[in-house]
C-alpha cells in the first residue's frame, strides 16, 4: 500500500477482517437491543485494530447510512416516523455534521508524522468527546435502572417541563408526536445530534433521549424518527467524509456482514429480557467502552508530546484497551445471545396455556399442556 494511503487506510488481513465482522455483529446486537446505534462499540473497536479514528468514524457513519435506510422503512410502515420533526432537526443536524467533519479533518491534517502519530490529535479529540458523552449516558442509565419504581414512574419530567416553558415564537406543531415546540428548542438539539453523529458516530445517543426527555415524544416515535434522520445525516456525513477521502468502504462492508444479522438478534433480545436488565446491561457495556477508551488516551497524549511515557507502553496499553472493549462488548452480546437462545428454545418447546375450568365455583379441571 502506498505510504500516503496507509495514513488513512490500514491493510486488512484475514484476522483483521474477521475482527471487524465480529465488531459489526456485536455492535449490531447491541444496536438492536438498545435501539440507538452500536457505534460506541464499533468506532473504538476499529481504532483498537489500528484504524485511524477519523477513518473509523467515517466508515462507521457510512455503515450507519446504509443500515438506517433499511431500518427506517420498517419503522415508517409502523407509523413511528415523524418526518416533519426529522426535517426540522435535519436543518441544523447537517450543520453539526459539517462542523464535526471540518474539525476532524483539520485535526487530522494538522497532525505530524505518519500513521498513528499523524492521527493522534484527531484520535484524542474523538476519544475525549466519546468519554464525556458516554460517561454521562452510562451513569444516567445506571441511575434510571436502579430506581425501584422503574416501569411506572416514567422518564423524569424536569427537563420536559423546562423546555415546555420556552414559548419563544415560532412554535411548531408536530402532529404525529403530538407535541408543540419552540423552534429554538428544536434547532440546538439537531445541531448537537449532528455534531455527535459526525464526531463519534453516536448521534442517536443524544437525539433519542432528547426527543423523549426534552420534546416529550413517545419512545417508539423517537427511535423511528432518529433512524429516519440517520438516513440523511448518515448520507451527508458519509458523502462529506468521502469527499475528504476518509471513508474506507472495505471496513463499511465488513461491518455490514456482522451488524445486519446482529441487529435482528438484538431486537429479539428486547422482547425476552426485562427492562431493568436491558438498561443495566446497556449501562455496563457503555461504561466498559468508556474505560477502554480512557486506557488508550495516554498513548495519544504521548504521540502529541504532551505526556512523557516510554513508547514501550503503547502496545500494552492498546492491548488492554482492546481487551476491555471486546470484553465489555462481547460480554454484553453474550448476555443477550444467551437470553435470546434460551427464549428461542423455550418458544419451540413449551406449550403455555393453563386451562382451568370451573363450572360450579370450585376448580374442577386443571391442565397444563406440554
Amino acid at each position: 500500500m502506498p505510504d500516503a494511503l496507509s495514513e488513512v487506510f490500514v491493510a486488512i488481513s484475514a484476522p483483521t477482517a474477521i475482527a471487524v465482522v465480529v465488531l459489526g455483529f456485536v455492535g449490531g446486537v447491541l444496536s438492536g437491543f438498545i435501539g440507538s446505534g452500536g457505534a460506541f462499540f464499533m468506532t473504538p473497536g476499529m481504532m483498537n485494530l489500528g484504524v485511524p479514528g477519523v477513518a473509523a468514524v467515517a466508515s462507521n457513519i457510512t455503515h450507519k447510512f446504509g443500515k438506517a435506510l433499511v431500518g427506517a422503512r420498517r419503522h415508517s410502515q409502523m407509523g413511528n416516523v415523524d418526518k416533519r420533526l426529522a426535517m426540522y432537526l435535519l436543518a441544523t443536524a447537517l450543520l453539526g455534521i459539517r462542523l464535526a467533519v471540518w474539525i476532524n479533518s483539520l485535526l487530522f491534517a494538522g497532525g505530524s508524522g505518519h500513521g498513528s502519530g499523524k492521527s493522534a490529535g484527531a484520535d484524542l479529540y474523538i476519544s475525549a468527546v466519546f468519554i464525556g458523552v458516554l460517561t454521562f449516558v452510562g451513569i444516567s442509565m445506571f441511575r434510571d435502572a436502579l430506581q425501584p419504581s422503574l416501569g411506572t414512574r416514567g422518564p423524569s419530567r424536569r427537563v420536559t417541563d423546562l423546555a415546555g416553558r420556552i414559548r419563544l415564537k415560532p412554535l411548531v406543531r408536530f402532529p404525529i408526536s403530538d407535541v408543540e415546540l419552540s423552534l429554538w428548542v428544536v434547532l440546538p438539539v439537531g445541531l448537537a445530534t449532528g455534531y455527535l453523529a459526525g464526531t463519534i458516530g453516536v448521534g442517536g445517543f443524544v437525539g433519542v433521549p432528547a426527543m423523549i426527555y426534552i420534546f416529550g415524544v413517545p419512545t417508539a416515535v423517537a427511535a423511528g424518527t432518529e433512524l429516519y434522520l440517520a438516513i440523511y445525516m448518515g448520507a451527508f456525513g458519509a458523502l462529506n467524509y468521502a469527499w475528504a477521502g476518509l471513508v474506507d468502504l472495505r471496513l463499511t462492508c465488513l461491518l455490514f456482514l456482522g451488524s445486519l444479522v446482529g441487529v435482528y438478534i438484538g431486537a429479539y433480545g428486547v422482547r425476552v429480557v426485562s427492562e431493568r436488565y436491558i438498561r443495566l446491561s446497556t449501562a455496563a457495556i457503555i461504561m466498559g467502552c468508556v474505560a477502554s477508551r480512557m486506557v488508550a488516551v495516554p498513548v495519544y497524549l504521548r504521540h502529541l508530546g504532551w505526556l512523557r511515557m516510554d513508547p514501550g507502553w503503547d502496545a500494552p496499553l492498546n492491548g488492554v484497551s482492546t481487551a476491555m472493549l471486546f470484553l465489555s462488548g462481547i460480554g454484553g452480546a453474550t448476555f443477550i445471545l444467551y437470553n435470546v437462545g434460551r427464549a428461542y428454545l423455550a418458544h419451540r418447546q413449551i406449550q403455555t396455556t393453563l386451562l382451568v375450568t370451573r363450572p360450579s365455583g370450585a376448580p374442577e379441571e386443571e391442565r397444563v399442556h406440554g
Binding site: 416501569g151 445486519l260 396455556t353
Partner: protein, 502 residues
C-alpha cells in the same frame, strides 16, 4: 333499564343536568368522583396520573398499566352499580367506558359558554380573564386525558348517541327531553347486551383482583373476558406468576373458566368464518409461534351493515331495531348450533391447546362497531384480516375487505395484513429462494470486487485518483453502501426466516 352516560367538560353544567335527569327518571346517580375515590382505594393515584398524563406522550406509554387499572375500576364501578338498577353516570369520557353495550345512552353536553365562565369565576374566585384561560387549559388537559386513556378524540360526534347544546336549551328542558329518549326501545337491554355487560364486569373485576394481589401486582397482564371465560396473557419473563393467576381468580363470581397464555404480544385475527382445518389457521399459528404471540379471534359478521347500506337505512333507522343490529358484540358460545359456530369454537379450542389463545368474540354490524369492540389496552402487533363479506361476489368481496383493512389500519394505527399476504410472507418458496439467490449474488460480487481490487478501490477513495477526481469517492460510497445494505439485508433476513428467528 338503560344506563345513561353524560359526558361534559368541567364547569359545563353536565353534572347538574345528569343529577336532574337521574332525579326525574328515579335512577341512581354515579359521578366521576365516586370512580376516582374507588380508584384511590385500589392504590391508583388518579390525581398524579392525570397530572403526568395530560401533556407528554413519553410519560403516557410508561403508565399504560396504571391506565388499564383505572379503566377497570371505572368499568367495574359502573357495571356493579348498574347491576342493582338503572343508572345515570356523569364523567368526562363515560361514553367510552362500555363499548358495544347497546343499552347505554351516550349523551354529550355542550356548555353555554358565558354561563360556564361565570360558574368558573364563582367557584375558583378568579377574575374573568384568568378564569377563561383556566377553562381553556382545563379543556386541553381533558382532551389529552381522553386521548391518552381511550385513544380517541372526545369531540368526535360519532361516539355519542345525542348531543345537548345548552346554548339553545335549558338544563331543565334538556333533562326532560332525555327522559323520553332513555325510555326508547332502542336502548332497552337485550340478552346479548346484558351478557356483554357481564363480561365487561368480569374482565374489570379480574383485572382489579390481579392488580391488588401482591403476587401479580407488578406483572404486566392482558385480561380479556368473553362468554364468562377470562383469558389472561402474560409475558414470558413473568412465567413464574402464571400458576398464581388461577388461584387468585379462583372464586371470581360469574367466571366459568380461566385461561392463561404466555405471549410477548398479540395478533388480532378478524374473519367472518373460522374453520379448524383451514390453511389460514396454520399460517396465523405459525406467525404467532415465531413471535411468541397470543391470537385473539374476532368473528365479524358484516351482513347486517351491508343490508342497511343497500337499503339506505343508515340514515333512517327504524324506531325499534332488532337485537342483532344493536351495534355490538354478541355472545360467543351460548348457542353453538350452526357449523359456523362450531368452527369458531373448534378454532378457539385448537389455539388453546397450542398455548396461543388470546380470547375470542363476535361482532355484528358496521366497521365502526367492529373498531369499537377492539380493546385499545391490548398490545396488538398485527391485525390479520381473513375472509370477510363471504356472501358477496368475488370482486366486491376483495374491495370491501381491502376497505376494511385500510379502515382498521387507520383506526388502530397498526399494521394490517391479509391472510394471503401473511402466507406469502411466511412461505419460503421458489420466489423467496430466487430473491435470496439474487441478493446473495449481488453481495458476493460486490465483496469479491472490493477485496480483489483493493489498490484501485483505495486510490478512488483517498489515493491518487481521489486527488484528481474527488467526486468519484462520494459517488462510489453513495452507490455501494445502500446497495450492500439492501442486498445483504435480504440475505440476512431470509436466513433468519429459514431458522424461524424473526
Amino acid at each position: 333499564m338503560p344506563i345513561v352516560v353524560v359526558s361534559c367538560v368541567p364547569f359545563g353544567g353536565g353534572e347538574r343536568m345528569a343529577r336532574l335527569l337521574a332525579e326525574k327518571l328515579d335512577y341512581s346517580f354515579l359521578g366521576r368522583e365516586d370512580v376516582v375515590a374507588r380508584a384511590n382505594e385500589c392504590g391508583i393515584p388518579v390525581g398524579k396520573l392525570e397530572v403526568a398524563m395530560v401533556r407528554k406522550p413519553s410519560v403516557q406509554e410508561r403508565m399504560a398499566t396504571l391506565k388499564d387499572r383505572y379503566l377497570s375500576v371505572a368499568t367495574a364501578t359502573i357495571c356493579e352499580k348498574a347491576a342493582r338498577g338503572s343508572l345515570v353516570y356523569y364523567g368526562r369520557a363515560g361514553h367510552l367506558l362500555l363499548p358495544g353495550v347497546s343499552h347505554v345512552v351516550r349523551v354529550r353536553v355542550i356548555p353555554e359558554a358565558e354561563q360556564r365562565v361565570e360558574d368558573a369565576m364563582t367557584r375558583t374566585k378568579l377574575p374573568r380573564e384568568k378564569a377563561e384561560r383556566f377553562l381553556h387549559e382545563i379543556d386541553a388537559d381533558v382532551r389529552s386525558w381522553v386521548r391518552f386513556v381511550h385513544n380517541v378524540d372526545m369531540d368526535d360526534p360519532r361516539k355519542y348517541d345525542f348531543m345537548v347544546n345548552l346554548e339553545k336549551v335549558s338544563i331543565e328542558n334538556a333533562a326532560t327531553a332525555l327522559c323520553g329518549i332513555a325510555e326508547l326501545p332502542d336502548f332497552r337491554p337485550t340478552p346479548a347486551s346484558l351478557r356483554i355487560m357481564d363480561d365487561r364486569l368480569l374482565q374489570s373485576q379480574a383485572r382489579i383482583r390481579l392488580a391488588l394481589d401482591e403476587r401479580t401486582a407488578t406483572a404486566s397482564l392482558t385480561v380479556h373476558s368473553s362468554d364468562r371465560v377470562v383469558t389472561i396473557t402474560y409475558m414470558p419473563r413473568q412465567a413464574r406468576v402464571a400458576p398464581e393467576i388461577p388461584k387468585i381468580l379462583e372464586d371470581l363470581p360469574g367466571c366459568r373458566a380461566v385461561r392463561c397464555t404466555m405471549a410477548n404480544t398479540n395478533i388480532l385475527w378478524v374473519q367472518e368464518e373460522f374453520r379448524p382445518d383451514s390453511d389460514a389457521l396454520l399460517h396465523v399459528t405459525e406467525q404467532a409461534r415465531r413471535w411468541g404471540a397470543a391470537v385473539e379471534l374476532l368473528r365479524y359478521r358484516p351482513e347486517r351493515a351491508l343490508a342497511n347500506a343497500v337499503l339506505g337505512e343508515e340514515a333512517a333507522r327504524p324506531a325499534s331495531r332488532p337485537r342483532a343490529d344493536t351495534g355490538g358484540i354478541e355472545d360467543d358460545v351460548v348457542e353453538v348450533t350452526s357449523p359456523a359456530d362450531q368452527g369458531f369454537h373448534a378454532v378457539l379450542e385448537t389455539l388453546s391447546r397450542d398455548g396461543r389463545l388470546g380470547g375470542g368474540q363476535t361482532v355484528t354490524g358496521t366497521k365502526e362497531a367492529l373498531a369499537a369492540a377492539i380493546s385499545r389496552q391490548v398490545p396488538y402487533s398485527l391485525v390479520v384480516v381473513g375472509e370477510t363479506f363471504v356472501k358477496k361476489p368475488a370482486a366486491a368481496r376483495t374491495r370491501l375487505t381491502r376497505e376494511l383493512s385500510n379502515f382498521l389500519g387507520e383506526e388502530m394505527g397498526l399494521p394490517v395484513i391479509g391472510v394471503s399476504d401473511l402466507r406469502a410472507k411466511l412461505r419460503f418458496g421458489p420466489t423467496q429462494v430466487v430473491h435470496l439467490a439474487a441478493a446473495a449474488t449481488v453481495v458476493g460480487l460486490i465483496y469479491y470486487l472490493l477485496f480483489t481490487h483493493q489498490e484501485q478501490l483505495l486510490s478512488v477513495l483517498g489515493g491518487s485518483l481521489h486527488q484528481r477526481h474527488p467526486w468519484m469517492s462520494p459517488v462510489l460510497v453513495a452507490v455501494v453502501a445502500p446497495l450492500v445494505a439492501a442486498a445483504y439485508g435480504v440475505v440476512a433476513s431470509s436466513l433468519l426466516k429459514l431458522i424461524k428467528l424473526e
